[in-house]
């Protein structure tokens, strides 16, 4: 039995090998190269001054107030957009789940924003809020000279709005999949016991959906933390809206400082791993508990 198991395991590894090798080539090598670059003083404009400097690029980034300011901006955008998306996404998922008429039409129309290229959506909202060409200032209750993209609060709000508008459908879709897993019998049993719809939502639907919610939050938080296109198009980091990805872009692509720029990229990568670990831990715990309950 154990002999057979071992050979099965070997076969499994062999079947995986091509995928593992491909992954190593397309992701492992660039990541390793970025780490190697981040340990050097390397500016493309002065290639002769290239030298190994150990961790000093990291020290430079981590002691700069710009980096921490950008981490803070990114956190604000991430937390604000993901939490709004969760609430809205849940509402939309419930509607899609319960829709009796035109279920396909509802789902398709909800998904449209997600099908639009981020850069296009970002431009659309930027022009909408532009005082020269936008329609927003012509709406009632809004000042005719409103120019939200010229100050910090307004800019952050427009960026979060764009992100929410664009990715709520994605959240809703993931939550809908989770919703489909909640058995109707449980709801009926609870109804017999006299539980109201609100109670049933919080006591039955939410706990059973926890793995789906965590997966949705994981995906969206990772995406939101790396936000680039929306910010780049709408403010390019002006008015205190610079995110860590914009900083990395500026140092790496504009200033062609490969050393410090790679250090910024590696730090973003580490932050992403940290977020992922946090969610995966929570996910593992909740699925394990569920499995335990089922047994």
């Amino acid at each position: 039995m154990s002999e057979r198991r071992r050979s099965e395991r070997r076969l499994a590894w062999m079947l995986c090998a091509p995928a593992v090798i491909a992954m190593l080539i397309v992701t492992g090598y660039p990541i390793g190269y970025a780490v190697w670059l981040s340990l050097q003083d390397y500016d493309l404009r002065f290639p002769d001054d290239r030298e190994f400097v150990g961790l000093s690029n990291y020290a430079d980034v981590l002691t700069s107030s710009i980096w921490w300011g950008d981490v803070w901006n990114t956190t604000i955008i991430t937390v604000a957009s993901v939490s709004i998306e969760l609430v809205l996404g849940m509402a939309i998922a419930l509607i899609m789940h319960r829709a009796i008429f035109g279920r396909g039409a509802v789902r398709a129309s909800v998904l449209i924003p997600y099908g639009i290229v981020t850069v296009v959506a970002a431009f659309g909202w930027r022009y909408a809020f532009d005082p020269a060409s936008g329609f927003v200032q012509n709406l009632p209750l809004i000042s005719d000279t409103a120019a939200p993209l010229t100050e910090r609060g307004g800019s952050l709000a427009v960026i979060v709005l764009t992100e929410v508008w664009k990715t709520t459908p994605f959240m809703a879709l993931l939550l809908l999949a989770g919703l489909a897993l909640v058995p109707d019998e449980l709801h009926e049993a609870a109804k017999v016991d006299g539980a109201g719809p609100v109670q049933r939502f919080f006591r039955i639907t939410l706990p059973l959906m926890k793995p789906a919610i965590l997966v949705a939050l994981l995906f969206r938080t990772l995406d939101a933390f790396r936000v680039f296109d929306t910010v780049y198009i709408q403010t390019a980091g002006a008015n205190g809206t610079e995110t860590v990805s914009i900083l990395g872009y500026q140092v790496l692509i504009n200033r062609v400082n490969l050393g410090v720029g790679s250090a910024v990229s590696v730090l973003i990568f580490l932050a992403v791993i940290l977020i992922a670990t946090f969610f995966v831990r929570g996910l593992g715990a909740s699925t394990a508990r569920q499995r335990g309950e089922a047994a």
Partner: protein
């Protein structure tokens, strides 16, 4: 079994086809005219297309220039070219370089210097302002092709007295009193650097020296006071902090503002507006920073450089020289609204027709202040943008120390 055989045939056929295609592209470069790639921004008026055609015809089969179109955004052009040059791309023969790239490209060894007869040809008859933008480290690195400068445009219907020789202070007071706006470029991008540099130069100051050494002084504070005064006055158009050249043009055309600081393209584009709007546009020299010094208008434009990794550098020099010839400059003015760098072209009646303000243009370019010529230019520009944005929140008392700190960090390759 049989199916397998057929699929093998297919693979063989595809391989043969690829081989033929490969040979095809090889032989294209081998015989006849050498292809020279000219990387330059996409000029929508067709001026560059015509210049390429003229030069290809006069080359009589020695070379054929291939016009490779880059994005119109100068930053994107630079990023694209820098990435290729850093990878020693031999595909780049001629580069349409923004005036601010010279020092960076020269220091990195990405372009070839113009020497001897070529240098003399590249400099002959050129205006002083554009010439300064091709010099670095005592050598000439490109041929000035087109140039550009900003004028103070005003709406003649609403502005009774032309604002000639006016200072920024007077202009802001005048506009605020009349309840109209002044359109400028206040977004956090290169246009803000252009503005700040012109203000500092207008007060007799400088930002950095050729080696990137800090020359920031009280003139930066003077500049900051003007930017802050406009941004917080009634003459500030809404969206000042996000305006680029085109938003400024729209603000002027819509009547929101009776004044605007902008490049010459706004005159040509006004020709298509209804109501004879173009005839209402008046022009004056760039405003003064201080009353007792003439203004130093900004200088922009395109210089032609030869890529260091080009396989045909001699032909590339010839082709660049041809593209930069006065007749092609004239075409660029007529079709693209881009002012010439050769002084004699300004006397051509065709140019006077395209630019009724040609004399003011020549005077402004002659007196213009180039932006800092230093290899770390993009860092310096970023430092200026970060220090002067948002315009309404600048603290003029702190500007000098902040700008100094950022320039110092930029020089050390640090984050600022």
């Amino acid at each position: 079994m049989r199916r397998e055989g057929r699929s093998r045939w297919w693979i063989a056929a595809v391989l043969v086809a690829l081989g033929i295609a490969g040979c095809g592209s090889d032989s294209e470069g081998g015989g006849g005219a050498r292809t020279l790639n000219w990387y330059v921004f996409n000029e929508p008026g067709g001026a560059y297309e015509q210049a390429v055609k003229t030069c290809n015809e006069s080359a009589r089969g020695r070379y054929r220039i291939n016009y490779v179109r880059l994005p119109t955004d100068a930053n994107q052009q630079r990023e694209l070219i820098v990435r290729r040059l850093a990878a020693k791309d031999s595909d780049i023969d001629i580069i349409g370089m923004d005036v601010i790239w010279t020092a960076e490209f020269a220091e990195a060894g990405w372009i070839k210097p113009w020497t001897g007869a070529r240098q003399r040809a590249a400099r002959a008859g050129r205006l002083a302002g554009p010439l300064k933008t091709v010099e670095y480290d005592g050598r000439t690195w490109a041929a000035p092709f087109t140039t550009n400068t900003q004028l103070l445009w005003f709406n003649k219907d609403k502005v009774p007295t032309p604002p000639a020789g006016i200072t920024w202070d007077e202009l802001i007071d005048r506009a605020a009193k009349a309840g109209t706006g002044i359109e400028v470029q206040g977004n956090q991008y290169e246009g803000l650097t252009v503005w700040v540099n012109a203000l500092i130069a207008g007060a007799g100051g400088e930002i950095v020296g050729e080696q990137g050494q800090d020359r920031v002084g009280p003139t930066a504070e003077t500049a900051a006071r003007i930017v802050h005064k406009l941004a917080t006055s009634r003459a500030a158009p809404p969206g000042l902090a996000t305006n680029k050249e085109d938003e400024a043009r729209l603000g002027f055309e819509s009547g929101r503002s009776s004044y605007q600081i902008n490049y010459t393209f706004i005159y040509a584009s006004a020709a298509e507006l209804p109501g004879g709007f173009q005839k209402k546009i008046g022009w004056a020299r760039y405003p003064r920073t201080v009353a007792d010094r003439p203004s130093r208008p900004p200088i922009g434009g395109i210089n032609l450089g030869v890529g260091a990794y080009s396989k045909n550098p001699d032909l590339a020099f010839d082709a660049a020289q041809c593209l930069a010839r006065p007749e092609n400059q004239l075409v660029a003015s007529e079709k693209g609204g881009l002012p010439p760098t050769t002084e004699a072209v300004y006397d051509d009646p065709k140019l006077q027709k395209a630019f009724p303000f040609a004399d003011l243009l020549r005077e402004s370019i002659e007196a213009g202040a180039p932006r800092p010529v230093t290899p770390a230019y993009s860092d310096i520009s970023l430092a200026i943008q970060r220090t002067f944005h948002p315009p309404d929140e600048i603290d003029p008392d702190e500007v000098v120390s902040k700008l100094r700190e950022r320039i110092e960090k930029a020089g050390e390759g640090k984050i600022f």
